[in-house]
Amino acid sequence: MKGDVVILLDKLKDALLRFTEELDLEKDTDIHYGDYLKDLLIHTANNYQKLTKDLTSHLKMPYKTLYAMLPGNVPMVFFEVLPLSIIYNIKAFFKYPRVEKTLYAKFLQYLSLNYPRLKTYYNGAYLPHNEAEKRISRFDFVFFFGSEKLIPLLKRTKTPFRFFGPGFSIGIALQDVYEDFIKDVLYFDQRGCLSMKFLFYTNDTIKQHVIDITKKFADKIPITSIFSQDRFTYRILFASSYMDVLLKHKNTAILETKDDVFRDIPLPDRTLILKKIKREEDIIRFLGKKIANLQAIATDNPTKLRLLKEKASFITYFGRLQFEPYNFFFKKGVTLKNIFQEVENDYQMAKNL
């Protein structure tokens, strides 16, 4: 007989699949990621069911309420936190980012109307920074998602927390890339830790292929509502002094670096940095200390990678970078079982401090 937790997770899956089916992308101006978003939502819903595999009842931990401070432009995070509330029987409050706030509110409204029992687990709102911080003390545990800019806030926070972020992902083209790799790069303007920032390649045929695919899709994958054209142009001007410009489209670029070690300069959004390599060791040398922030790898042949297997949270095929595997919770080593364990100075790795 199914336990309560399994039934609820089934319902959550059902709710998300139905919501996705009914989601009218045309009408929602800040939800404009098209079918890619729907694919991600369906993938996430299917992961809910896998979580029930080893569960018969709620998992136990001392906290009753969770505050999740969501990042902007990474819409899957919200949906990946949802099952944790059910599994641990904890009420969650989501602090929405400015972007995607409509999507999240819409989903909770959908639960309210169609799955009222599930809705009892969740609340959320878009709050100004100072108000968002004030609320923290009302909760038992906090999930912070975001960049190293959160560190001062983390240092002030007395409530137990986990910090997820920041990170970046890479691509490694051993034989070739295929078209879907561009989704790993351009969706959400590269603002997620599962966005591909660098692509390492082994031969010049691949390079040309990357340029051709990017040209083809640059206009088809939309910019987000907070994309800044000025910032893009400015950073291209800056970065292109150190790298070769292989492609400069109005809001998308490909740069190539010849440096053996990455020069730490501000990078434009929607810009892929190419680097030719001979072996995996070249990547490790190139990334240097930043490898601590490596999140995931997309490649044409995951089985071929030896050294980097241990460095990344997961390795997947091109086009699947943002489709998180089952039981991956935002950071290497974090699982369903240990996600509510507070880690002292959890932010130390945020910028190799």
């Binding site: 990474v74 920041p166 970046f168 000025d230 001007l237 501000p266 930043k290």
Partner: protein, 295 residues
């Protein structure tokens, strides 16, 4: 140096943007400042231009990582406040400072009035703002002060940052009735939100009943300054030209920057009005997602 004299003469006596002189400056800087020459070559394939519209603006962030000075030896550098992280450095020597002195005085709208300021003048060698105000005090009289109520007299100019003004207003116990001129000189990046000088001055009017408000908008990387008086926008000058009259990043050509880089782009968002611009805010990424920030 002929070009220096030509630039000084243009700043003092010119009336409109001199494109020919601007191109001469760009060529001089491309030859004398290696990273700038490399930048221009990389972006355009050349260092000689027929029109200023062909020249790409130089991102101001380069001042954080490169030594950009056209003369052989420098004797110090001005450093930015670094509120956004790494600090910019602008190197100088007596020759380049002579141009700073000329330009800052020509730009300044309240000549001949004594200046009173709570600014920290001990940083006169590393802060371009302190250097400039110190130069004004040497030229027009005045001093640093600790008590606004007691030390600012009728007809004085009170020169202070937005934060200093704001903090003073928060603790002001009584109104200030003397007729004075207040020059507020920014520092508003520390507010960490969009800055509205009109709101600040409306608040200040409750205390400074008879003051006229001026705003100075400058930065370490510019040896000339923009000023806005009363309710007007910031005005460009013939030697301090805003190169794109639109909404977006500030692109400015400053002739007084002869010995570093004249044509720069700054990640400050401005909104061009009919006869000048409003400063909106420093562009910062407020929703970075969870991606690692490079640089």
């Amino acid at each position: 140096m002929e070009l220096l004299n030509e630039v000084k003469d243009h700043i003092k006596n010119g009336t409109e943007f001199d494109e020919g002189l601007a191109l001469k400056i760009v060529e001089y800087q491309a030859e004398s400042i290696r990273p700038y020459g490399e930048f221009l070559k990389k972006q355009t394939g050349k260092t000689h231009f027929k029109s200023i519209s062909e020249v790409p603006p130089f991102p101001v962030d380069f001042f954080k990582i490169a030594e950009l000075f056209a003369l052989k030896e420098h004797k110090g550098y001005f450093e930015s406040s670094g509120t956004q992280g790494t600090k910019s450095r602008v190197y100088y020597n007596d020759t380049s400072l002579s141009l700073y002195r000329v330009s800052s005085i020509v730009s300044y709208p309240l000549k001949q009035r004594p200046i009173k300021t709570p600014l920290d003048m001990s940083k006169v060698k590393t802060s371009s703002l302190a250097f400039m105000v110190n130069h004004f005090i040497e030229t027009f009289g005045g001093k640093t002060i600790t008590n606004i109520y007691e030390e600012v007299q009728e007809g004085d100019v009170l020169f202070l940052t937005a934060i200093q003004l704001y903090n003073f207003l928060q603790t002001a116990k009584k109104t200030f009735l003397k007729r004075i001129y207040i020059v507020e000189t920014g520092g508003y990046k520390r507010f960490k939100r969009a800055y509205n000088r009109f709101k600040l001055y409306a608040l200040a009017k409750n205390v400074f009943k008879n003051a006229d408000f001026y705003t100075e908008y400058g930065m370490t990387e510019l040896f000339s300054q923009f000023y806005a008086d009363q309710g007007h926008p910031f005005r460009e000058k013939h030697y301090l030209k805003v190169m794109e009259h639109s909404y977006g990043y500030l692109k400015v050509f400053d002739f007084a920057n002869l010995f570093h880089i004249s044509y720069i782009v700054v990640p400050d968002i401005i909104d061009w009005k009919k006869d000048g611009f409003e400063y909106i805010k420093r562009d910062v990424e407020d929703e970075r997602g969870c991606s690692y920030t490079f640089g």
